[in-house]
Symmetry: C2
Subunit: 244 residues, 2 copies
């Protein structure tokens, strides 16, 4: 039996979702909790996440003979009693054995949260990237429109990735200010390694005049990582929603 | 010279504002940072706070010969470089030597945050009280109106307090729901020990039918702590604003 489980996690204490040599992963932590409930399971996540990245909504499947022991609707509370406070199971349902949390996803939305303030906020430490210099969110929003559409995003992929097909379709993209919080949202059919963090860094750099007058279209067309902006740090990044 | 400093802090790691025998206090932490900047100072807070209680806005004065070394507008950034991430100095200004952060306050607003959900939220752990049973926020709001006015709040003071004048004036009081978050707000000229937490616990108990059909007016009139509800836990409580 295969269960699709929705998780939410604060990534600060973890080396990312996937099992790594150094540090504790979300995957390993959830797998250990699931195996206490169900016995041996295979666990597959909907995406990799970097160390320190958060998820408002993240999906994984667990598959094993014991997964039918508990009715799916009771699985979240049972798992939560075994998980640490910074990871929660939000919902669970049975899925077909052909379902894959990554390949069955039609798309995903990420958000990148920037606290635009000279003064830190103790309630947002490790949960936002703080930029002390005034950002022009309206201009960033206008620039972000340049990401929408089907493009080769090679310029927005971290060096060293082995991916060769770098074409993705961005369906929505925008920047909104809410007081001192500047939120970059982007939905696409898929994302390259560090793509959202480089997009966010590029919008910040452009807003601060650090990249001259180049446009998003210019940077995309260059297919050159060196033309884009900095890789914004992981603590501002949230996997927000996965579309199935 | 005397400076009035506005702080914001996540209280989770502290034994409260005031210095205690066991545990690290906010007061001691801020005093040590201030003394690195100014040399010896006397530090006075606007209120006591319990272990685990938070402050969106808290005021303290620091007074000492060295307090004029830095222009007040530069004090927050200088202090923040010396404070841990869960405490921030938000603003600072010079005040008259007669100013007292507690006695000069005209009133304060507290908020009590309840996550009304069977499922925990990793982003709100230690920052809300989670109530898994459905609360009727509209009814709680109607009940909360019973707190408004000048009353003897003896029934809403923790046993063991040495305070004898238990009359306070509540100027505003209400409960609002925002999704799964239920927020109790109360502004008054002063508060008794544990008063907001007992008020919050009483509204929760009344909403869940645990106190029969007694009204807030009945409980106030009784002056009996035993007639009120439970003391809601500290992690949901925020000192929200201080009025000078």
């Amino acid at each position: 039996m295969k269960l699709l489980i929705e998780l939410s996690f604060l990534g600060t204490a973890y080396c990312g979702f996937q099992v790594q040599k150094n540090g504790v992963s979300i995957q390993q932590t959830v797998q250990e909790a699931a195996e206490k409930l169900f016995g041996p399971v295979a666990l597959t996540g909907c995406s990799r996440t970097d160390s320190g990245v958060h998820a408002r909504s993240f999906y994984c499947t667990v598959e094993g003979e014991g997964c039918g022991r508990i009715p799916p609707e009771r699985v979240p509370l049972a798992l939560n009693s075994l998980l640490p406070p910074d990871i929660a199971a939000k919902s669970a349902r049975a899925v077909d054995s052909s379902f894959h949390p990554r390949y069955s996803a039609k798309g995903k939305e990420y958000r990148y949260l920037i606290l635009n303030s000279r003064i830190r906020d103790p309630f947002l430490e490790g949960r936002v990237y703080r930029c002390p210099v005034e950002l022009d969110a309206e201009r960033m929003n206008a620039l972000a429109a340049g990401f929408v559409g089907r493009h080769d995003f090679a310029a927005f992929m971290a060096a060293g990735s082995s991916i060769t097909d770098t074409v993705r379709t961005v369906s929505r993209c925008g920047v909104q200010r809410d007081g001192e919080l500047v939120v970059f949202s982007v939905a696409a059919d898929g994302f390259l390694y560090n793509m959202v963090r480089i997009m966010a860094g590029t919008l910040i750099d452009l807003s601060l005049g650090r990249l001259g007058d180049r446009s998003i279209a210019d940077i995309i067309a260059s297919r050159d990582r060196g033309r884009a902006g900095f890789t914004a740090p992981p603590e501002g990044l949230y996997l927000w929603e996965v579309y199935y």
